[in-house]
């Protein structure tokens, strides 16, 4: 922790940055912190409750963050994939941001979760995560960590749904999505949803109906999953942000499975590796085409 604060202070003192995005304690747990001066650096913390993917604040649509000036961001190795995604899609220049990588041994589900990291409360994405530190970072801080314990099969529910028949699946999704009120929290917290104007907000024509009935919800959630196929960094923020507790990650995980099976692609923190949708190979599978 001290290492992180010292580094932050040094960056401010050397005038390398104008503001730093990290984590701080609040009344209930941990929340994102916007540090604007060297003497504020002691607020910074990093522990297993630092769940948030701060890359979401780096998108150019966040005018109030852009106005802060040159930024440093604290990232975990999973967040690095989102930063890489933004760089890959020309939303961010690598040299415009200072990345402070923290060694991470897994995080909990929610930032207000008390107690230590156990297999019971480990965020699903951390189980099986092999990256302890982000390769993309400029600086790496923190004690060396071990991989998080936990052996739950995070894809058990996915496999269960896949084994259902069509009617059962439709029933399940109609039920789950019936809770959606279209607050669009899933989109707003997503580091990869950076469009200036989302297709769901377009009115000429209104491709996706804004009403939270099944028709509108199906169009929205299917399209969201498709637009994130091969781009979703699996940070789980959409699921955490959903006030209706809809397991949105399932759709993203399914899309990731599809692109992995079809195009051998898994999301990476290498900005130079192209995402699967937007590129093609001449010999892509087309068994479904007549």
């Amino acid at each position: 922790m001290q290492e992180l604060r010292d580094l932050a202070r040094k960056l401010f003192q050397e005038r390398k940055i104008d503001a730093l995005l990290g984590y701080e304690c609040d009344r209930r747990g941990v929340r994102p912190a916007f540090v604007k001066a060297a003497d504020e650096c002691d607020r910074l913390i990093f522990d297993q409750r630092c769940v948030h993917n701060l890359a979401a604040y780096l998108s150019p649509r966040r005018s109030h963050v852009v106005a802060l000036g040159r930024l440093a961001v604290v990232i975990k190795s999973c967040d690095a994939r989102a930063v890489a995604g933004l760089i890959r899609e020309n939303q961010l220049k690598r040299e415009d941001v200072v990345l402070i990588g923290v060694r991470c041994g897994g995080v909990v589900l929610n930032p207000d979760e008390p107690g230590e990291l156990e297999s019971r409360n480990t965020a699903p994405r951390c189980v099986g995560c092999e990256q302890r530190e982000p390769a993309l970072a400029d600086h790496i801080v923190g004690e060396p960590k071990t991989a998080p314990a936990g052996n739950q099969d995070r894809d058990a529910r996915l496999s269960e749904i896949e084994s259902m028949n069509l009617d059962e699946r439709l029933g399940l999704w109609v039920d789950l999505l019936s809770r959606c009120t279209r607050c669009h929290a899933c989109r707003q917290v997503c580091p990869m949803c950076f469009c200036e104007r989302c297709v769901a907000d377009k009115t000429l024509p209104a491709w996706i109906e804004s009403s939270p009935h099944s028709r509108g919800n199906f169009a929205w959630h299917l399209t969201r999953a498709l637009h994130l196929a091969g781009r979703c960094v699996d940070c789980g923020e959409c699921e955490r942000a959903c006030p209706a507790e809809i397991p949105l990650g399932l759709l993203n995980r399914k899309a990731a499975r599809i692109v992995s099976a079809r195009y051998g692609y898994t999301v990476t923190d290498d900005p130079s590796k192209p995402a699967p949708i937007g590129t093609y190979r001449l010999d892509d599978g087309q068994e479904f085409m007549e």
Binding site: R27, P111, T181, A185, V189, E245
Partner: protein
């Protein structure tokens, strides 16, 4: 007018079945397992065993029962230049809410002001009229609750037709409104007169809630009136993602959008959908001009509307202190923290005078 009755625990199930049998739609808190965690949500129940009374606060508020997230205002059918309008009904299915939390019940009454202050919204009041609210004293709170700070309490009976206070053997019922009386008449035999002195109301919960936030709405309001421009807003709003999660999970937020949706090829429906003041699109003009151009302005609007505009118009804050906005916020925006900061500043400003 309040009458005291008693409903024993074993009688709760048959009582609910009576309600369903009488043709009413019964909404109650039920348990749901999602992502390895337990949630409570208001849902229609068919089996009384599903009902969880006195559990944690349901994740989504009660308002969707009287103010659905999407509802049809009317339908139209078109043949060339001829339009035919099919009206939406203004009478609604009889609904009984068994086990509303006091904060959710009170919020309905708070929103009544705006829905009826000049033009009377028949859709809101139609559903309100058709809905009986049986609130139950709140026995669980967490660090996001602050109902006591907005003049309510875990035992507040506001907005309730019946108020249930749990005891060892069952529930003591206070019948509070004519609508409640009517309901009692129909289910008189299940609910005998309560004997003995009124059940003691636990105050530990209220004490815990009080410890979360102490606030004087009047002082907050006078500070807000004078500080439309303040560096505080910018600082707070930095974190905000600009989603509508807070407003959509708020029992008192009532802003909406009106949309036309073609259905099939010859007609469609005009709908009213929930909307929130946080997305930029809310106030965006056709010309591209946006009166609330950044998140700072939009977040300020949310606080202003709840704690300044609404009290100025209707005499009370647009908040029932349920704390859902705090719990759902992915960015850790903390209304309790913000209000206590404003309260603190208000005190300072006062002492500086």
């Amino acid at each position: 007018m309040s009458k005291r009755r008693f409903l024993s625990k074993p009688d709760l199930g048959p009582f609910v079945l009576d309600l369903i049998g009488s043709g009413a739609r019964v909404i109650a808190p039920v348990r749901r397992l999602e992502r390895g965690r337990d949630f409570i949500e208001y849902r229609q129940v068919r089996d009384p065993n599903d009902i969880v009374l006195g559990g944690p606060l349901p994740v989504r508020p009660l308002k969707e029962i009287v103010f659905p997230p999407t509802e049809t205002l009317f339908r139209w059918r078109q043949a060339k230049s001829l339009i035919e309008i099919e009206e939406s009904p203004t009478s609604f299915e009889e609904t009984v809410i068994v086990g509303a939390t006091p904060c959710d019940a009170a919020a309905l009454e708070i929103v009544d002001h705006v829905m009826g202050w000049d033009y009377k919204d028949e859709l809101w009041f139609g559903r309100r009229q058709a809905t009986a609210v049986l609130a139950v004293a709140c026995t669980q709170c967490d660090e996001s609750c602050f109902c006591t700070a907005v003049g309510l309490s875990p035992q507040s009976t506001r907005g309730a037709d019946w108020f249930l206070t749990p005891s060892k053997e069952g529930f003591e019922i206070e019948v509070l409104t004519p609508k409640g009386e009517l309901l009692l008449e129909r289910h008189d035999t299940r609910c005998p007169e309560a004997s003995g002195s009124p059940a003691a109301r636990a105050s530990q919960v209220a004490d815990k809630v009080q410890a979360n936030l102490k606030m004087q709405p009047g002082k907050i309001r006078s500070w807000l009136e004078r500080h439309f421009e303040d560096p505080l807003w910018k600082d707070i709003a930095l974190r905000c993602h600009g989603c509508g999660a807070c407003a959509f999970s708020c029992p008192a937020c009532h802003c909406f959008d009106i949309m036309d949706e073609p259905e099939g090829m010859e007609g469609g429906s005009r709908r009213r959908n929930w909307d929130a003041c946080q997305p930029a699109l809310f106030t965006l003009h056709g010309s591209g001009h946006n009166p609330r151009k950044d998140q700072t302005a939009r977040f300020r609007q949310r606080i202003m509307h709840k704690f300044n505009i609404y009290p100025a118009r209707f005499g009370e804050v647009l908040c029932s202190g349920c704390g859902r906005c705090i719990r759902v916020c992915a960015a850790g925006m903390d209304l309790i923290g913000i209000l206590s900061e404003i309260g603190h500043r208000a005190e300072e400003a006062e002492s500086a005078l």
